[in-house]
């Protein structure tokens, strides 16, 4: 998993590249939670082909942390296999998902 930080409008963007799984969950969680301390975060998953329940746990934690801090957390660029996992888990109802970073930034 490689995580690149950038910005879109006023929000921080974490570009994730790789599998979001048991092996990469801890690292990803640390980075996302640190970014949320500074404000809203958009996680760009365009280069993530695979998310397991360990990865979902990270995204849920980030969404909860954002809510506690009064910040926003959204995901963009869900690939079909990732979208499938989101839908089966009901995550599409609790984590805002957008088609693009620009859309997420202006939401």
């Amino acid at each position: 998993m490689e995580i690149t930080e950038t910005t879109e409008g006023a929000k921080a963007v974490a570009i994730l590249d790789g599998r979001l799984d048991t092996a990469t969950a801890a690292l990803t969680e640390t980075r996302l939670l640190a970014m949320l301390e500074k404000g809203g975060v958009i996680a760009d998953l365009s280069e993530v082909r695979y998310v397991s329940s360990a990865g979902l746990r990270v995204l849920l934690k980030a969404a909860k942390q954002a809510k506690a801090l009064g910040a926003s957390f959204a995901v963009v660029g869900l690939q079909p296999p990732v979208r499938e996992v989101f839908e089966i888990s009901g995550f599409d109802k609790i984590i805002p998902a957008f088609a693009s970073r620009a859309e997420a930034a202006s939401a």
């Binding site: 599998r19 909860k64 089966i88 888990s89 009901g90 609790i94």
Partner: protein, 137 residues
């Protein structure tokens, strides 16, 4: 050309889970398995084996066997840990709001939803989870 089978036995550690996923990615590419199906295959493999690696005290190995058939891939995941039926876990509440959401049991929920005929058996002192993964996208 028929899809080749896959078989890998590894020590029951989290490092092995990553190794298994890497091997499955390579297998899917060589076997020409479409990304939508290979992602499901990887997910089932990870959810079950990560559970063994993290919770099965005394387990020395897990193994995955994939036997492709005309309509579906038959999967068997085996380990030598204590008797444990992962399918017996209660289903998570996937309708709960953000604050009430908990991800316990979500892995098994994904496995049950993405596969058909998931069944567990304790045989010869081993845990065996079998299921079918449809190859129709």
């Amino acid at each position: 050309m028929a899809t080749p089978p896959f078989h890998l036995r590894l020590p029951a550690t989290l490092e092995s889970v990553s190794e298994l996923l890497d091997a499955l990615e390579a297998y899917a590419e060589v076997a020409g398995i479409p990304p939508s199906i290979s992602a499901r295959l990887a997910l089932v493999a990870e959810e079950v084996t990560a559970n063994v690696a993290m919770h099965a005290k005394g387990a020395t190995y897990f193994e995955l066997r994939v036997t492709p058939g005309p309509q579906a891939m038959n999967l068997m995941i085996e380990d030598d840990g204590p008797e444990y039926d992962p399918l017996a876990r209660p289903a998570p509440d996937i309708e709960a709001a953000l604050d009430e959401r908990d991800v316990g049991g979500l892995g098994v929920h994904l496995v049950k939803k993405l596969t058909q005929d998931a069944r567990y058996q304790r045989e010869d002192g081993l845990n065996r989870l079998r299921c079918s993964l449809s190859i129709a996208a």
